[in-house]
Symmetry: C2
Subunit: 145 residues, 2 copies
DNA sequence: GTATATTAAGATAAAATACTCTTTAATATG
DNA sequence: CATATTAAAGAGTATTTTATCTTAATATAC
């Protein structure tokens, strides 16, 4: 599994937020219901995104969370980085320290090429694109089947 | 992190075994020393590989473990599968059930292309190749720097 | 100001993963 | 047969990840 559960929840919630039409705050309860994720846990996850400036939050009635920037300006990588950390994709496939810096491992050539592609994908795909994929109605984002 | 620690230990030990010249059994102690992995833990990991038929083991003096088949006939994927399970690379990037079967998630198109490449690499690279990379002496496999 | 809605924060619990220690079984050697 | 060597198996511990529960803080509406 490339991404942690926590990170996946953050991504799913962000895509869902990006696909909302209005600019109102959305309650975490609404997100957790729609995504079928525990409300309390999702709250924790979204707190991370709020702290890292990807989301804005507002307390009280009509409060909730919303994207802090336009969905076109938030990348998949932004979210992965702020939850799973920067090095998730920089690591050696065999878990050795400092991939590529000193002696690379026997898998380095093959793995770093693949990593480059993954990195590239994460850096270039935005929440807007993901949301519009979703909107094409053949795509799913919740666990409701 | 794509692979579990356990799986990484299994891979490192297997590459090391593949790079041994003689066909004698190698003690797990020797492997754990060379790889700088806890002996007891490595024992557990290699038990999995023995059970799944990738390694042969032998108890008693001059005992140890060795590859059950020629290194050219053991793929990276063989080891990943027997430790981390088959579905590690078949999963949806957003953790949804049945990637691609029913409704794919918004990331499916991009992710499944990358997955295909990872799968391909794992299926085609053999322990022999990894061991010969290692033997070229610019490559590392242990944590000793 | 009081009640209500909502996120934030903290404390705890459960589950999964990683690691260690001890005992048992198999084999070899003398 | 007695002893030493080695992997297998089992039990136990530690750490991390995932999840839940409770309380606090902040904002709105009346
Ligand atoms: S050193 Fe192992 S993948 Fe780079
Ligand atoms: S359904 Fe999500 S990656 Fe395939």
């Amino acid at each position: 599994m490339l991404l942690s559960n926590t990170c996946i929840y953050g991504l799913r919630a962000s895509v869902l937020l990006a696909s909302k039409l209005s600019d109102d705050f959305v309650t975490i309860r609404e997100l957790s219901d729609e995504l079928n994720i525990s409300f309390h846990f999702l709250t924790k996850v979204l707190q991370m995104l709020t702290k890292s400036g990807i989301l804005k939050s507002y307390k009280g009635p009509n409060g909730g969370v919303k994207l802090a920037r336009p969905a076109s300006q938030i990348t998949f990588m932004d979210i992965v980085e702020s939850i799973d950390g920067k090095q998730i994709i920089k690591e050696c496939a065999l878990g050795l320290p400092g991939c590529g810096e000193l002696k690379p491992c026997p898998l380095h050539d093959q793995w770093s090429a693949l990593k480059e592609n993954i990195l590239n994908m994460m850096n270039h795909i935005s929440l807007e694109q993901l949301a519009s994929n979703r909107a094409s109605d053949q795509f799913n984002i919740s666990m409701h089947y």
